[in-house]
């Protein structure tokens, strides 16, 4: 989650409405392909083939029409991590191993991003629910609860972040900007109060 320059909050839902083939594919098939590709890429040792795959992955981003601003938010951190892994691999093994790691992981990150922007949260949650269904005989695994928890997490992390910013601002106005307790205590209290209110709303909407 990133705070925008205008002070607004960028949300964690990266879905972009559209009608591409990826948008229309069932969620399970996209995840199946992604997992299959991640296995196949690790079987490929030829840099030229991996370079072609990377170009194809970039072409996929263009095809799905991901806006540049969104690209920055989605790729900056993962690509930095990929770069670190690749450099580490090059040092531990050799340059070829580093390049293989870079091509494989970058292609996968780009493809995973394409799956993210073309999959609605609701479809993803339904996919998670179906995935967990065979495990529902285990008493503490409730697929519906797990999917609702995941969606609540995506929905409320930006809200809690905003709450933290508001508290920080209010405490700074009182001259308490260097006191971490002045931020943490009200944040915990207000977050718990908020959780209580959200729980009421979930009950009222019959989502429990």
């Amino acid at each position: 989650m990133v705070q925008k320059e205008d002070g607004g909050l960028m949300d964690l839902s990266f879905y972009l409405p559209g009608s591409s083939v990826l948008h229309r594919m069932p969620t399970w098939s996209k995840f199946f392909l992604l997992i299959s590709f991640s296995i196949i890429f690790y079987a490929i040792e030829d840099l030229r083939i991996l370079a072609v795959i990377l170009v194809a992955a970039i072409a996929l981003v263009v095809y799905v029409k991901v806006p540049v601003r969104r690209l920055k938010a989605m790729f900056l951190l993962p690509l930095f991590m990929v770069l670190l892994f690749s450099i580490f691999s090059a040092f531990v093994n050799d340059l070829n191993a580093g390049l293989l790691t870079f091509f494989r992981l970058t292609s996968l990150v780009i493809m995973a991003a394409c799956v993210t922007v073309t999959t609605r949260i609701e479809d993803f949650m339904a996919f998670v629910e179906n995935l967990l269904l065979p495990l529902s005989f285990i008493p503490f695994i409730k697929p519906k609860t797990v999917s609702l928890t995941l969606s609540l997490t995506l929905r409320f992390i930006p809200e809690i972040f905003k709450l933290g910013m508001d508290i920080k601002e209010a405490q700074a106005a009182r001259g308490l900007n260097s006191n971490p307790l002045a931020l943490i205590v009200p944040l915990i209290v207000l977050t718990l109060k908020r959780a209580d209110d959200i729980s009421d709303a979930i009950d009222a909407r019959m989502l429990d």
């Binding site: 839902s13 609701e122 009222a204 989502l207």
Partner: protein, 233 residues
């Protein structure tokens, strides 16, 4: 449009309510069948607890309470199915990050088929001129838009009654007016808890809560006048 039931939509007798072992409602006796009922009172007077009883979020500690004919003692699910609740802060009510997904969520719980769900979501958004927000992220909406989405998520489930708990408190004047006219146009029974006394001028009946009791129960004009005198003391 006016709607008035022959059978009482709210039927409370000798209802008492404790929260955290503290009494918050005392001896509530009420029979109501009006289309629009307003509830006012000072902070801590018990009006929000009363509103929560209407949706089954709370159940009486003593006494009998029936909403739309369903007894809160043994038919809470029926009460929730038929009574929608709009909270003061829509941010607590909207649980999915995308507008259409959140509105669709309630329908999913009612096992409405997917193609019908999509159509119903578009229908309710179009009704309020909000279709352009369908694929928008909830975080990007204004307070007024969020409150309208929260109301849409309740209305799409076609409840018979909607309870509003201070729905205009966090809104600017334009959004407050938009919500007010939307409430007045609703076909469903409406129970509105508010500090915005102007909102209630065209209501059928207003209850004034004071220290957990119904202290006045009258037409809007008379009840508001009583409340203003009480608050002036």
């Amino acid at each position: 449009m006016t709607l008035e039931s022959k059978n009482p939509v709210l039927d409370f007798s000798n209802v008492n309510l404790l929260r955290n072992d503290q009494p918050v409602l005392h001896d509530i006796n009420l029979t109501a069948s009006e289309h629009r009922i307003g509830i006012i009172g000072a902070n801590g007077s018990g009006k929000s607890s009363f509103a929560r009883l209407l949706n089954g979020l709370l159940t009486p500690t003593e006494g009998r309470a029936k909403v739309l004919g369903f007894d809160l003692a043994d038919a809470v699910k029926d009460v929730r199915r038929n009574v929608g609740f709009v909270f003061q802060n829509p941010d607590n009510q909207i649980v999915y990050p995308i507008v259409s997904e959140d509105i669709e969520l309630g329908l999913k719980g009612l096992n409405v088929p997917k193609d019908q769900r999509k159509a119903k979501v578009e229908e309710i958004l179009a009704r309020f001129g909000l279709l352009h927000l369908k694929d928008r992220s909830v975080h990007m909406l204004s307070g007024g838009e969020k409150q309208m989405i929260a109301l849409s998520s309740v209305l799409v489930m076609q409840p018979q009654m909607i309870v509003f708990d201070e729905p205009t408190t966090l809104l600017d004047l334009r959004n407050r007016n938009a919500i007010a006219s939307t409430i007045m146009a609703l076909e469903q029974y409406v129970v509105l808890v508010t500090h915005d006394l102007e909102l209630l001028s065209d209501f059928d009946r207003v209850l004034v809560f004071d220290e957990g009791r119904i202290a006045a129960d009258d037409t809007p004009k008379a009840a508001i006048s009583w409340y203003k005198k009480k608050m002036a003391v």
